[in-house]
């Protein structure tokens, strides 16, 4: 069966060891995590995890069901085919000299990214968008010399009134 990327959104209890349980399950069942982002949600005792997995449809169904079996996982939704807003944030530290700096700024402006730190020999760019946008910016900045990159991985929510709490397939 065909493998593609799936986006899974989870509400999990904000307790010690929950990330370990989720990560351990992926390893144990031989599921491949492309990215994983964790942070607070709208509810104080719950965190939201967004996981991107490379899988075939049967595998992703297993991922969803196995995650749902974890006691600390409150809701699991495969939101891949739902109408979603998905974003990633990246910080990119680019080598910059006084002569190259303006070229970098031009590219950054086109991408509606921001320069968040300037030093004598580098600038740090903050960019938010989908993975393609981040990849394109990285590609363009590569010529200037990239010193360090950090990416958050995908975070996603369903658009409008639809709630990502429910699996759209069910």
């Amino acid at each position: 069966m065909e493998t593609k990327e799936y986006t899974i959104s989870m509400l999990v209890e904000d307790k010690a060891g929950v990330l370990n349980r989720v990560a351990s399950l992926f390893r144990r069942r031989n599921f491949n995590i492309k990215s994983l982002a964790v942070g607070g949600s709208e509810q104080p005792s719950l965190s939201r995890m967004t996981v991107v997995v490379a899988a075939d449809p049967a595998q992703v169904e297993q991922v969803r069901k196995q995650l749902d079996k974890l006691i600390n996982v409150v809701k699991v939704s495969d939101i891949t085919d739902a109408d979603i807003v998905a974003r990633e944030l990246a910080l990119i530290k680019v080598a910059a000299t006084s002569s190259s700096r303006s070229g970098i700024i031009q590219i950054v402006d086109i991408f509606r990214a921001n320069i968040v730190d300037v030093a004598a020999d580098s600038v740090t760019v903050e960019v938010t968008g989908d993975e393609d946008k981040v990849n394109s910016l990285l590609e363009l900045l590569r010529g200037f010399g990239i010193k360090e990159v950090v990416r958050t991985g995908r975070v996603a929510l369903t658009r409008g009134g639809a709630s990502s709490k429910k699996n759209p397939k069910h």
């Binding site: 999990v12 209890e13 060891g17 370990n20 349980r21 351990s24 399950l25 144990r28 049967a58 169904e61 297993q62 069901k65 196995q66 749902d68 079996k69 974890l70 006691i71 600390n72 996982v73 409150v74 809701k75």
Partner: protein
């Protein structure tokens, strides 16, 4: 009133109905053991190795439908539970494992006898807890029992630091749990049940595959009603043995790798499989892409993650088997299926998988058959894994519900003796036969001491072929007769038993078998019979690995004499 963590634990266990707890103590669990003196209603059975404690709790749970309990200290004590916890997890056996942990200030410091047991058992428990304060202990115990016994049952571990056991807290036992992420589905979806009923009513060659889920939800009557109402033949998985009486005309015995030829033929010819409380384990299905090629499949299971995991399913029904069958039975119509049943009966006559061949040697199949004859099926048979397990599964006719207790999923050598001990503690008035191989028996042989001291009257039959028999069978069939390290030098098990003050006899000949079994059963207490059997007897029928259920080998090929003599590691 304020109580210590240890007292809170004991009170909570009693609230949950625990009567027996198997365990062995050590430094980090001492406060709990000290508190045991105040709670005589908690019977603690001291085992000789933690693996014995957890298998005994597992056997107890399977025999009683209660949650089994075991307890160990930190570090090596906790680590020794691991095999048994994994075993319980694979076979969905509900148990609570309590472990001591080093005191809170020492956690993470590699303190003496510290091990990260919650980390270690993460993938083999349904859930686990490290308790950070005595005030949360009551709720943790409440949740742990609730999780262990509901939905798809399983083991839950509670790790309690030594200073938490000593810390005082207010004790109020909660009356309910709040687990927003845990809502097991027990009622089957009505629309799915209707779809299933439609398939059942339209099927010409329906077949039920009965699994352990029937035993766990005690749906014996519902299964029988379904089978009888629509005249649907029943085959069972290994752990589904004793979910349906094997002396019933609709019973066609076990399917799978060492299942009956006619059971496997039925699966391959059926046009509808009704799989109930089973999980399509590879030992039951053989290769899945040639499994039941002509059948549509209805899968009833309490665990949604089992649906579609191993085989494609046409109508999944998630729910407790008893509830689902209760509703389904009302929607199916009375049928005869005379032609289908006569075909199966013909196959059974033409492929008598359970013939015992003539031999001057003592054959293991004959021993199991004689245990059945002596008990008339009124006994619980407990096995570990291997040839002994398969012969017990094949040659005993299981009539009583839940009378076969065995290590299925994990296939644990050494399960048999401590598990039989737990079964007997749970069913003191029943005859309990532990059928062991000489290999598996030696893996938990130390529990003879527990059996002797507590006078747990299990009857032990060692099928002693001087080999790790099933592995040797694979070496014979698939590794060119190269018996690498499967030959066992064994001590004299009769003398061993006698050293533990357990009476025992050795049997070498056919005519001694039945008297020995009777002697064991007549004796008021534990008894061991060491059956010295034909060393190279194989388990048949057999579906070779990588083949389909259709490619079953019914009869052994004439034995070739191996070119080289097997390497003997004996000191003889």
């Amino acid at each position: 009133m304020k109580k210590t963590g240890a007292q809170i634990l004991c009170e909570s266990l009693i609230k949950e109905g625990v009567e027996v707890i198997f365990g062995i103590l050590g430094g980090a669990i001492l406060p709990v053991y000290d508190a045991f003196t105040q709670y005589p209603q908690l019977r603690h059975i001291l085992v000789r190795h933690e693996q014995g404690a957890v298998h005994a709790a597992d056997g107890y749970a399977r025999a009683t439908h209660k949650v089994g309990a075991c307890i160990a200290t930190s570090g090596p004590g906790a680590a020794n539970l691991v095999t048994g916890i994994a075993n319980a997890y694979m076979d969905s056996s509900p148990l609570i494992a309590i472990t001591g942990q080093v005191a809170r200030p020492f956690i993470g410091k590699d303190a003496f006898q510290e091990t990260d047991i919650t980390g270690i058992t993460l993938p083999i428990t349904k859930h686990n807890y490290l308790v950070y304060s005595a005030s949360e202990l009551a709720m943790v115990v409440k949740e742990a029992f609730y999780i262990a016994r509901t939905g798809r049952q399983g083991p839950v571990l509670i790790d309690i630091p030594r200073d938490v056991q000593q810390e005082e807290a207010e004790f109020i036992y909660p009356d309910k749990v709040d687990l927003p992420g845990y809502k097991p589905v027990v009622q089957g979806h009505p629309a799915q049940i209707r779809k299933a009923a439609k398939l059942v009513n339209g099927a010409e060659r329906p077949l039920i595959i009965a699994g352990r889920g029937i035993i766990m939800s005690q749906a014996y009557a519902e299964l029988k009603e379904l089978a009888e109402k629509a005249q649907i033949p029943v085959v069972n998985t290994l752990l589904g043995i004793s979910s349906f009486p094997q002396n019933h005309v609709l019973s066609f015995d076990m399917l799978g790798m060492h299942g009956m030829a006619y059971a496997n033929m039925a699966v391959q010819a059926a046009d509808l499989i009704i799989a109930i409380g089973m999980r399509f384990d590879d030992r039951a299905t053989a290769i899945t892409d040639k499994f039941a090629p002509e059948a549509r499949i209805i899968h009833i299971d309490i665990d949604p993650a089992e649906i579609g995991k191993n085989v494609r399913v046409d109508v999944p029904i998630v729910g407790d088997v008893k509830n689902v069958l209760g509703v389904l039975n009302n929607e199916i119509t009375v049928k005869e299926h005379a032609e289908w049943l006569s075909t199966l009966n013909k196959w059974q006559r033409e492929h008598p998988s359970l013939l015992i061949r003539e031999s001057s040697e003592l054959l293991p199949q004959y021993i199991v058959r004689q245990i059945y004859e002596a008990t008339q099926g009124d006994a619980t048979v407990v096995t570990g894994v291997g040839q002994n397990q398969m012969w017990a599964a094949q040659y005993f006719t299981f009539i009583k519900p839940n009378s076969f207790i065995s290590s299925g999923g994990l296939g644990t050598m050494g399960f048999e003796l401590p598990a039989a001990m737990g079964v007997k503690v749970g069913r003191p008035d029943e005859m309990v036969w532990c059928v062991a191989g000489d290999g598996g028996f030696q893996m938990t042989i130390q529990e003879l001491a527990t059996i002797a001291v507590e006078n747990i009257a299990v009857k032990i039959a060692i099928i002693n072929n001087g080999y790790l028999g099933m592995v040797r069978q694979w070496q014979e069939l698939f590794y060119g007769h190269r018996y690498v390290d499967t030959r066992l030098w064994n001590p004299d098990f009769v003398k061993i038993a006698e050293a533990y003050e357990i009476p025992a006899i050795k049997v070498r000949h056919r005519d001694e078998v039945s008297p020995a079994i009777c002697k064991a059963m007549d004796y008021d207490g534990p008894f061991l019979v060491d059956f010295i059997v034909e060393p190279e007897e194989n388990v048949y029928p057999m579906v070779p690995p990588g083949k389909s259920l259709s490619e079953i080998i019914e009869l052994p090929k004439p034995k070739r004499v191996p070119k080289a003599k097997p390497k003997i590691l004996a000191r003889s």
